[in-house]
Amino acid sequence: MRVKRWPRSLSELALLPDVLLWFLAALAPLMFLFSLIAGFDQAAQHRGLLADLAAHGRVVSAEINQIDFESQRGRITLFYPAENEQRELAVIRILEFYPADWLNRLEKGQTLELLCVPPGPYRHAYEAVPLQYYPAFQRHPGITRDIWAVFLFFLLVAIYRPHFLFLGFVPVTDMSVTLLSENPS
């Protein structure tokens, strides 16, 4: 009885996910390091903003001028009255830190209570946080979802296929790697 065989092209096609996984596994150390550095940087920026808000923060009522969900992880631009009948700028950044239903209800011209770093020689001058979400903002680690996703995704890839991590310490022959030694035909 003849054994039914897959056509060669189909069996090679079946190798594609495996090849893709090897490619991702090769990238894993680098992308994991990238996610760590980016995460630390975001957390440091977040702590810096909290420190500036605690030291120089001012509660103001500001009017929404523009809501932009797209650029630079989303931002809301607002203006509030200052001395000499001038208007000062305040910006709420990284909108994913705030509830989506609250964001969707916001409209241009609406007034918000903010805790804001005033203009001056401060690292986070003009940055603001809605007063009602300030306690939640203080508890937030300050790391965005995309960085968490990269971190966890490449952590999983490294757990499933860790061979590139051990290159230089363990000879390839001792790694039980099957793809490169198998004959697909």
């Binding site: 952590l155 490294a158 757990i159 860790p162 991590l165 310490f169 363990v170 001792d174």
Partner: protein, 293 residues
């Protein structure tokens, strides 16, 4: 910062890279060519000595003449140093970590002592942080005093602890000297030299910590566990300094730290960095090492 301070940082980085190379060669028992001037030294050790002499000659000249350099020129010099350093860190920390020195529990105890001394003199920690740091440190100290061979899984955890201690040291360092040409740090040329050498060593290990964390996490799958057993001999050494001599070295480290605190001979961070490099590169050299049972 002037030309001399940048040269001192560059010299520190180059000498440390050569020391890593020499330590790695010596620990892997690679046959090294004997030196031109002394058969007791290897060629690489002589090169390190020569680089030290030439670089300090250059630094002294630059310091004496102190040529006025524009901000753009200083930035260019610093960028060149940093470009080379980051390339080195990426290749030897992430891609091919061949230059990492092998350590044993005794080295880890010495590194922990230095890192915690720095940490405790900078910050006041809550009791739970203190417990989380001191318990593993006491455990490693206990193991450093025993002569039984440790299982590779435990070795991997000890090595992770060692990398965490080096990260703690890296966080205590001020890397402003590497990235700001207008930095006004009040440091001597020796501090810049030590800062360059320790900086590259600490950053190399901090980058490798990310890779090693992934290596440890991969052990969740039983199918991967044999890999760490095969890998640990490249990172962890089973040879030890005799117990009494090790305790004398620890006491000596403590005495140096206390003396520096009393006299203020070196800035605290420079003294700590110097002890870290001594522990990793030179601690076991004068002694006949003993195999574990």
């Amino acid at each position: 910062m002037n030309l001399a301070s940048n040269l001192a940082i560059a010299a520190g980085i180059i000498v440390e890279i050569l020391l890593l190379w020499e330590t790695s060669d010596r620990q892997k028992k690679n046959q090294s060519t004997s030196g031109f001037f002394s058969p007791g030294l290897s060629r690489l050790q002589e090169v390190i000595g020569l680089v030290l002499l030439v670089s300090w000659g250059g630094i002294a000249l630059a310091d004496y003449f102190d040529p006025p350099l524009s901000l753009a020129a200083l930035s260019a010099i610093q960028n060149a140093i940093m470009g080379f350093s980051f390339m080195f860190l990426f290749i030897f920390g992430m891609v091919s970590p061949k230059l990492l020195p092998r350590v044993n529990e005794q080295t880890i105890v010495a590194i922990s002592l230095v890192a915690f001394y720095g940490l405790f003199s900078l910050a006041k920690l809550e009791w739970f942080w203190l417990t989380a740091l001191l318990l593993p440190a006491l455990g490693v100290f206990g193991m450093a005093l025993t002569t039984r061979v440790i299982h590779p899984y435990l070795k991997s955890l000890l090595y992770f602890w060692y990398l965490v201690c080096l990260l703690i040291m890296a966080l205590q360092n001020n890397f402003e000297m590497f990235i700001r040409p207008t930095s006004e740090l009040e440091l001597t040329l020796l501090d810049y030299f030590i800062g360059g050498a320790a900086g590259i060593f600490l950053l190399l290990h901090s980058i490798f910590l990310a890779r090693f964390f992934l290596m440890l996490t991969a052990l969740i799958r039983p199918a991967n566990r044999h890999l760490i057993v095969l890998a640990m001999p490249q990172l962890f050494d089973d040879q030890q300094i005799p117990r009494l001599k090790f305790l004398v070295i620890l006491a000596l480290f403590g005495a140096i730290l206390a003396l520096n605190r009393l006299t203020g001979l070196l800035p605290s961070i420079s003294a700590l960095n110097l002890l870290i490099l001594l522990a990793v590169h030179f601690m076991e050299r004068p002694f006949q090492l003993t195999e574990r049972l």
